[in-house]
């Protein structure tokens, strides 16, 4: 009797969870299924998740993009920005994190507080003066304002990597030092190999944020040939000009494919990263 009631309880629990999960996932599945519907019938029985026939041609017409620029260009632009910025932020953040976590120097506390304050400071607060600054350098309509700042470390990643370095026993550093290693040697031979997971987590988040970044490209880029996918998609989906809804959904879906792929391959790093540091996703 007890066993049976336990089972009933479990079935109820899972039914609730399944319905809830399905409801939460519905919008994403809806986007995918709308991308396969015939363009003219996307909004006939709009809620339906089952397209009448699979219209992959939406993807082909969508890929043509607009103004003679195909989505190949946009995807390539996004990839360049995201990859270079990610490499920059991980290299710099790792170096800085090591300095903060392992080396004693005068004024460390002050700079650490500055870093934490920078972490809390939203980008929107420095957006206008930075724009004016980069404008005076003649960097508008280049990728420099989007990429260069990442080479000075991202406080979130510095903090995440620091937390990770702190879990490495300091005796390892001391042993290496007795063996004649200097700080640089300890960093490259001891620390870096051990913090690869934290670097991976940071790299994934960095890639996500750069790939999704919309405001940066919006204010800095003006030539459509230089647009990343996020900005191109916004223009492509302008409600006043869109006629091919299927293609719009198709390109929207494609734009999040890289995010999905990374998520499914590296889920562990993401979950660990969020759980330990409280990073936003």
């Amino acid at each position: 009797m007890n066993k049976k009631s336990k089972r009933t309880k479990k079935i109820i629990q899972h039914s609730i969870m399944i319905v809830f999960t399905a409801l939460m996932i519905y919008p994403l599945v809806w986007m995918l299924s709308s991308s396969l519907k015939e363009s003219s019938s996307v909004f006939v029985d709009a809620h339906s998740l089952i397209p009448k026939g699979l219209h992959f041609e939406n993807y082909i017409t969508g890929w043509q993009g607009f103004g003679g620029i195909t989505f190949s260009t946009f995807f390539l632009n996004s990839a360049i920005i995201a990859v270079v910025a990610t490499v920059g932020s991980i290299i710099s953040s790792t170096i800085i994190a090591y300095g903060f976590a392992r080396i004693k120097f005068a004024g460390k506390k002050v700079w650490f507080i500055c870093m934490m304050l920078t972490m809390m400071l939203p980008f929107e607060m420095v957006m206008i003066p930075q724009y004016i600054m980069f404008n005076s350098f003649g960097w508008i309509d280049t990728y420099l304002p989007l990429i260069l700042p990442t080479f000075f470390g991202i406080p979130f990643f510095i903090f995440l990597i620091m937390q990770f370095i702190r879990t490495i026993p300091i005796e390892l550093d001391e042993a290496a030092r007795i063996d004649g290693c200097n700080s640089l040697g300890i960093f490259f031979r001891i620390i870096v190999p051990l913090i690869v997971p934290a670097m991976m987590t940071s790299a994934i988040f960095s890639f996500y944020w750069r790939w999704d970044d919309f405001m940066g490209p919006l204010i800095y880029l003006s030539t459509p040939e230089k647009y990343p996918v996020s900005l191109a998609l916004k223009l492509f989906s302008d409600p006043n000009s869109v006629t091919n809804w299927g293609a719009m959904f198709a390109m929207s879906t494609l734009s999040i494919v890289p995010i999905f792929v990374i998520f499914f391959f590296f889920q562990r790093y993401i979950v660990d990263g969020i759980s330990t540091s409280g990073l936003k996703g």
């Binding site: 809806w30 709009a46 300095g99 809390m120 206008i128 999704d212 929207s252 999040i256 969020i274």
Partner: protein, 328 residues
């Protein structure tokens, strides 16, 4: 040298000798300690130099420059014109749109943030109880957060709540009246709030990690004392989660006040400014009207608001945040 010697001299002294510290002894035996620590300053600053350069050039200077700009009239073409407090005066007394955006943003952050956090906590509690397939639920429920920041999701949301979108289509199928969700000033903001709440995944993961850190023995001990699950939640789970809740609340409040993309893409501030979030209005002032001085004043005002809010949350935390080390 001085520090080293004092360490050595203090060793035979009563305080230290009473409690042997082998690590200290090894340290004091290490040669060249003084010279190394001199070197540390240089090495340390070398390692953090990228941060320092970025901090001065990309954070501190821009922040101060924007404070200066907030007292000027600057359109990017001619040089900034000192106008004293005029921008702030105009903001507080002469700009109804500014107050509208304040009202919309306060309402948005004030409703959406608690919704997201409560949702995240409830789902995390449920997932913590379930043994089978918990990983699957967790992955799927986290998905909206993973893709939530993308433009694609905002575009999809606009269509989902559009006049002929899926939500209305559902309602029609059930024979319920449809509604112009994005066209009605009363409901448009709610579509954005739902979009924000929908992305509860990251907070859920943080809460889950917090829940897993609570020792099982606490629950066992309290059930021996006769506490039921609801009482356990309020006397064990919730207090022990408060540090995590505090951190989450601060980050989410900042994020909520800074939201831009959803209102820009889903509603573009309309209808009749009912979804004009603060950052969107600031963006319009700066990059559509090139009213850089005024927009800088707006940025500074928001910075002060966020600083005050964060301060208040921190200060209040001593009354509701429970740190385990306190009780030990």
């Amino acid at each position: 040298m001085v520090r080293k010697r004092s360490e050595q001299f203090s060793e035979p002294g009563s305080e230290v000798a009473s409690k042997p510290k082998p690590v200290n002894q090894i340290k004091s035996l290490m040669p060249n300690k003084k010279r190394k620590s001199d070197n540390h300053n240089f090495t340390g600053y070398m390692f953090i130099s990228p941060f320092l350069i970025g901090f001065f050039l990309l954070t501190l200077y821009p922040i101060l420059y924007s404070l200066y700009l907030s007292f000027t009239d600057y359109d990017l073409m001619s040089s900034p014109n000192w106008i004293g407090l005029d921008n702030y005066r105009r903001m507080f007394t002469g700009d109804a749109t500014f107050w509208k955006s304040m009202e919309v943003t306060t309402m948005y952050a004030g409703v959406a943030v608690p919704i997201r956090l409560v949702f995240a906590l409830l789902v995390a509690l449920a997932l913590n109880k379930i043994v089978e397939a918990a990983g699957w639920y967790r992955t799927l429920l986290y998905l909206p957060s993973v893709v939530g920041g993308s433009i694609a999701v905002s575009i999809m949301w606009r269509q989902l709540f559009g006049n002929d979108g899926a939500v209305n289509s559902f309602l029609a199928m059930l024979g319920l009246p449809t509604h112009s969700w994005l066209g009605d000033p009363a409901t448009a903001i709610w579509t954005l709030i739902v979009l924000y709440g929908w992305q509860f995944g990251s907070s859920m993961l943080i809460f889950l990690a917090g829940l897993r850190n609570i020792p099982k023995t606490y629950y066992e001990a309290s059930s021996v004392d006769g506490a039921g699950p609801i009482k356990q939640f309020f006397i064990i789970t919730l207090p022990l989660l408060t540090p995590v809740i505090l951190f989450n609340t601060i980050m989410q409040v900042i994020q909520g006040f800074m939201a831009f993309t959803p209102s820009f893409v889903v509603t573009n501030g309309g209808p009749v400014n009912s979804t004009l979030l603060y950052v969107l209005y600031m963006y319009q002032r700066a990059f559509e009207y090139f009213d850089m001085g005024y927009a800088s004043a707006m940025a500074w005002f928001m910075l002060i608001i966020i600083a005050i809010l964060t301060g208040v949350i921190f200060k209040s935390s001593q009354y509701w945040v429970h740190y385990e080390s306190d009780s030990k």
